[in-house]
């Protein structure tokens, strides 16, 4: 509860989602440019073709979709979505969490309300940073803690961009 409360007290960033588009190489992660897409609320249907309704109901304004891989077959898929304010992005997080009954709080990153859930062959991390809602799917690792480290490094990058 405490992280959520602290988060709610923050002033929402007035930056566009494109500021969180990763255009420079992060560590060994190579952008798969054919995946990269910016989208509006309506455009989300074109990307996920089902399952988009909840995002729209919660107030999605716009977002970006990117995927990165490295030479070892590891991948990280990223959705960063602007919900207009932190209340809405937190509501989206809460709604999403209902789909992950085994989710646990992600620790090791400050100022970010996030949970992680182990899926088959992947770790799913969902968090909020101010008015932004972020979903990360990390795969190709055998060690969950390694996947959490990758997620934290991406969340730290986004935090830095919003400062």
């Amino acid at each position: 509860m405490i992280p959520i409360l602290l988060f709610a007290l923050q002033v929402d960033a007035k930056v566009k989602v494109k500021k969180l588009l990763i255009t420079t190489q992060q560590q060994s992660w190579i952008e798969q440019k054919e995946i990269t897409k910016k989208f509006t609320a309506k455009g989300l249907f074109e990307i996920i073709n089902g399952g988009a309704v909840e995002y729209l109901n919660q107030g999605l304004v716009e977002g970006i979709h990117q995927q990165f891989s490295n030479n070892d077959g590891k991948t990280i898929e990223v959705f960063v979505e602007d919900f207009g304010n932190s209340e809405k992005s937190t509501n989206m997080l809460s709604s999403k969490k209902e789909s992950f009954p085994d989710a646990g709080q992600l620790t090791g990153v400050s100022d970010v309300n996030a949970f992680s859930s182990k899926a088959i062959g992947a770790l799913i991390v969902v968090g909020t940073l101010q008015n932004f809602y972020i979903e990360l799917t990390i795969s190709g690792f055998t060690d969950q803690s390694e996947m959490e480290k990758v997620a934290i490094s991406f969340l730290d990058y986004y935090k830095l961009q919003l400062k």
Partner: protein, 353 residues
């Protein structure tokens, strides 16, 4: 075990006797239409529309994949076990004495054409990362080829999410030599507008090969995924054709009515000879939600039937609900949209290896 009541047996026997005595075109002469679909029409005169088989075989998967990259999710699939499972399912579906005879019963050749002339389209779901496994697609291709259809006449496509990035790495490396993987639906002629048995004033984009008749046989291979409540909370074989037809009207007012309309269409179901002859749900792994995301559960199952509403209904009720703990709204509409009700449907026939 499937239970067959005496009454149902007598009904089936009477139907089979009747079917054996008539020409295929007579089967479609019914008195009632539901949005373009002739109620009571049998997709396959030798297989009850409501007969759906579920193959269960944990040996199909050696271990869970390290990631959902196409190579990784296929590397852990034992294709010999997939072959064995699908053969067993075909025997159970067609109720014949051998796999060869069973596959020959499942697939139907239009009158006046030779097997070697037929063109086959295979619709897969390339939305996100859980996709129809190569072993299943390859087995279907090889069985069609055994009947005489050249591999070069078989086209794997997804007009919505593009099958090329997912399946082109397997050309000649898992997929039989000659099989075509289409960029979108380009190899099937792209899209053309067509009227649907729904809103008469509107036309919708549909894959051209289904409209001009160049596709003789349509195979539907979906995955076990969820979806929005508006579409029955499933992304199975019915929803899979959002990609044969344009998907966007689903999300902007069409909902399940549009979904059912394009699935009832002659472009999907065919006319004199049924076009969509086989519907498969690759349920090796399953997703509670979706269609975007990655699977949460290993399921070791494949579901197969000739009639997509029955395949989807039973997959939802007999696999997704008990095994994934999800509920489904609107799946009764899968059946009522084709003139059936849940009272008409049998138990899922289990083929456990």
């Amino acid at each position: 075990m499937e239970k067959v009541s005496r009454r149902r047996f007598m009904q089936s026997s009477a139907i089979l006797t009747f079917l054996a005595s008539v020409q295929p075109q007579h089967l479609f002469a019914s008195t009632k239409k539901t949005g373009g679909w002739d109620v009571g029409r049998q997709v396959n005169p030798q297989i009850d529309n409501m007969r759906v088989v579920c193959g269960v075989n944990p040996a199909m998967i050696s271990k869970n994949p390290l990631s959902w990259q196409p190579e990784d999710q296929n590397a852990v699939v034992n294709t010999a076990e997939v072959d064995r499972t699908l053969d067993s399912m075909a025997v159970s579906l067609a109720q014949k004495s051998s796999p060869t005879e069973s596959w020959a019963t499942v697939f139907q050749k239009p009158n006046g054409k030779q097997w070697g002339e037929l063109k086959v389209a295979i619709k897969v779901n390339c939305n996100s990362k859980n996709n129809a496994r190569i072993g299943i697609i390859s087995k279907v291709c090889r069985e069609l080829n055994a009947l005489g259809v050249p591999f070069k006449n078989m086209i794997i496509y997804d007009g919505r999410s593009n099958a090329w990035p997912t399946y082109s790495p397997f050309l000649n490396k898992g997929l039989p030599d000659g099989v075509i993987v289409s960029e979108g639906n380009k190899a099937l002629g792209g899209m053309v507008k067509v009227a649907l048995p729904w809103e008469n004033s509107k036309k919708f984009n549909c894959t051209k090969g289904m409209v001009d008749g160049t596709v003789d046989i349509l195979i539907n291979i979906a995955n076990n995924k969820g979806c929005d409540e508006a579409f029955g909370q499933t992304t199975l074989t019915l929803k899979n054709h959002a990609g044969t037809f344009e998907p966007m009207p689903l999300h902007f007012g069409g909902g399940i009515d549009y979904l059912m309309a394009f699935n009832r269409s002659k472009e999907i179901m065919g006319t004199t000879t049924p076009r969509q002859q086989l519907c498969i749900v690759d349920s090796l792994w399953g997703m509670r939600k979706g269609p975007f995301g990655v699977p949460e559960e290993r399921m070791d199952r494949i579901v197969m039937g000739t009639f997509s509403p029955a395949v989807d209904y039973l997959t939802a009720k007999k696999i997704r609900e008990p095994m994934l703990g999800v509920s489904h709204a609107n799946v009764d509409k899968f059946l009522t949209g084709f003139g059936y009700s849940s009272n008409d449907i049998h138990e899922l026939v289990m083929a456990t290896l």
